[in-house]
Amino acid sequence: MKELLKTLVEIPAPSGYESQVRNQIREWIEPLVDEMRVDSLGNLVAVRKQTDAPRLMLVAHMDEIGLMVTHVDQQGFARFVALGGVMPIHCVGGRVRFLNGVQGVIGVEKNPTSSEIPPLEKMFIDVGASSAEDCPIRIGDVAVFDRSFVDLGKRVVSKAMDDRVGVAVLIEALRRIEKSAFEMYYVFSVQEEVGVRGATVAAFGVEPDLGLAIDVTATGDTPKGHRMEVRLGKGPAIKIRDAGMLADPRVIQWMVQTAEKAKIPYQREILEFGGTDARAIQLSRSGVPAGVLSIPCRYVHAPSEMVDMEDVENAVKLLINLLQTAPNLERPK
């Protein structure tokens, strides 16, 4: 799975401009599904048909956070804005790669009166040009962080683990599963990072009975980090809530019971910020019971995000097990 993950994370595909990674995913999954389509926003929707079975929509987002150029000044320096949740602290000294191949460095204006991290407006991208005329990028060009995949053994590090690791889990599940209790819609969504936009229209089109997102979640196990219980290496997380939604208790129960029966380690997750594609599914049409299978990830939205390969493998196992039994959607106790 490391190879799969390495290929995925190194493809540049920021929100709104996901075609490169979509093409790669499509190449891999085409022989594994009955039908595939790309909808009007660019979501890749793949179907494994099954009659008389509830329809499950699984979603992992293809897009990563990125930057868009707003202006190139007379000396050839480019100003930019964020596509998705790019934090200034992670930009200082960063390297970027544009979709047209050009590479650059993020520079920062000096501030004589304060040592606080400046906002993105006080940063710029330097591609080594000497003027606006000989600058190979211009207004509207998009870039992603430029960091390669690193294998630390048990753990791996890269940009775009959010959510290429989710994409990898979906692809791996597709490869290993033969039968399931559902009619399966594998959705590789776009524009999650700018407001779960892809999933919103994908869910409307798919009309699922049940929805499950595979995405990363933060951890609370770094020095003076987030105040939350999820840890790297303690198993995939079953999301109870985040800032965007309360997971359906029946879905949580289904996930917990499946994990316990299959003896897969898991964690119960509460995230006090952030949201996922599952929210978009939950609020679609007449409502859809939805939940999230989370992969613990350190340094989310930094150029070097870290996941534990055992968590990833267990996430695949849990997903495969989940697909074998439909949840009881009768009223909970």
Binding site: R241, L246, R268, I270, E272, L283, R285, V288
Partner: protein
């Protein structure tokens, strides 16, 4: 409507915790109460309770949806350390009301606990002064860690202790009056409609997750596709520390919403009815949004003409919310009158303008 009946009803409706996302306990209560009052009961996929009453008009009949959210705010267990519980919020909770609050932890067993604020020397410098943020407070069950972990886990909802008190002849104090007071009004409305004819089909909806996503009402509206919708919620009653120009006196009448989320012709109809019934009311200006289920509901599918009526409530989002029983009755009466008096061709009357014929 006897006040006794209202008190009993209100007490029943404020008893179940029914936190956002975990509304099962209140949903069952609503189903039990609505069963004799509707033709058909069902649940929407996000747990909202839908009660359907067929109208007497000729088919095809238009339908009216009346919504009151059934979920309440509270807390949730987000961690366990040395037997103490860490907490996160469900809905908006002011951290300053928490120290000393008696709560119920709904785990494998329901256990009593108290929310406590640690002494400053146990807190980092940034949390020592001022009000202690929620993530530094604890809930203490009084049990040892082993017992705690036996019954409680991350994700268990935590509700404020039930404490229904009648203060004087009109005012009631209890947690969850936001929005069980409105649910009470909606139930009383259905009771009144038992004795009256109505031309339109009526959907009574006890929606879920208003305090988090407004999702229960919006998805119910997509499912039902009503021609009109009325949302019943609570608004701010005047009280100590609250600005007079943004609040309404307790027990002196209900409010009728006005603004982009409200169809102006519906406002006019409700105003006329209230004047006819001599129900005291005030216009509640909502310049940008209503802060209720109406905000999402109005823009579902091709749009739904929506009205918002509100019951003044003091100390909103605290366990000591207060409401006037008279105001609940007023809301119920107005709703019933509106529902019963809807003519079958009412939709023609609320057109914005005549469009020229080609």
């Amino acid at each position: 409507m006897k006040t006794n009946n209202l008190s009993i009803l209100l007490k029943r409706l404020t008893s179940p915790p029914g936190l956002s996302g975990y509304e099962e306990s209140i949903a069952r209560e609503v189903e039990a109460l609505w069963k004799p009052l509707v033709d058909h009961l069902s649940r929407n996929r996000l747990g909202s309770v839908l009660g359907f009453r067929a109208g007497s008009g000729e088919s095809p009949r238009p339908c009216l949806m009346m919504v009151a959210h059934q979920d309440a705010i509270g807390l949730m267990v987000s961690g366990i350390k040395e037997g103490f519980l860490r907490l996160t919020e469900i809905g908006g909770v002011d951290q300053r009301i928490l120290p000393g609050q008696l709560v119920q932890v709904h785990g494998k067993r329901t256990l009593p606990a108290v929310v406590v604020q640690p002494p400053p020397f146990l807190l980092p410098p940034e949390a020592q002064e001022g009000s202690v943020p929620l993530s530094y407070l604890w809930a203490d069950t009084g049990l040892e860690e082993k017992e705690v972990r036996r019954w409680i886990q991350i994700g268990d909802p935590v509700s404020f202790n039930r404490n229904y008190v009648e203060l004087g002849s009109d005012v009631v104090c209890s947690p969850s009056l936001d929005n069980r007071a409105s649910l009470c009004a909606l139930t009383l409305c259905l009771q009144e409609l038992q004795a009256r004819k109505h031309a339109w089909d009526i959907w009574a909806v006890a929606s879920t997750q208003e305090e988090e996503t407004l999702g229960g009402a919006a998805t119910s509206a997509f499912q039902v596709q009503p021609d009109l919708a009325v949302v019943i919620d609570v608004t701010h009653a005047s009280g100590p520390g609250s600005p007079a120009h943004k609040t309404y006196p307790l027990g002196k009448g209900i409010t009728l919403g006005w603004g982009p989320t409200v169809h102006p012709k519906l406002y006019e109809v409700f105003k006329e009815l209230a004047e006819k019934l001599e129900i005291p009311f005030k216009m509640e200006a909502m310049p940008r949004y209503s802060g209720t289920d109406a905000d999402r509901l109005q823009t579902i599918a091709e749009g739904i003409p929506t009205m918002v009526i509100s019951i003044p409530l003091r100390y909103m989002h605290t366990p000591v919310e207060m409401v006037s029983k008279k105001d609940i009755q007023r809301a119920a009466r107005l709703l019933a009158e509106f529902a019963a008096s809807l003519e079958i061709d009412f939709m023609v009357k609320i057109q914005w303008d005549e469009t020229p014929k080609p």
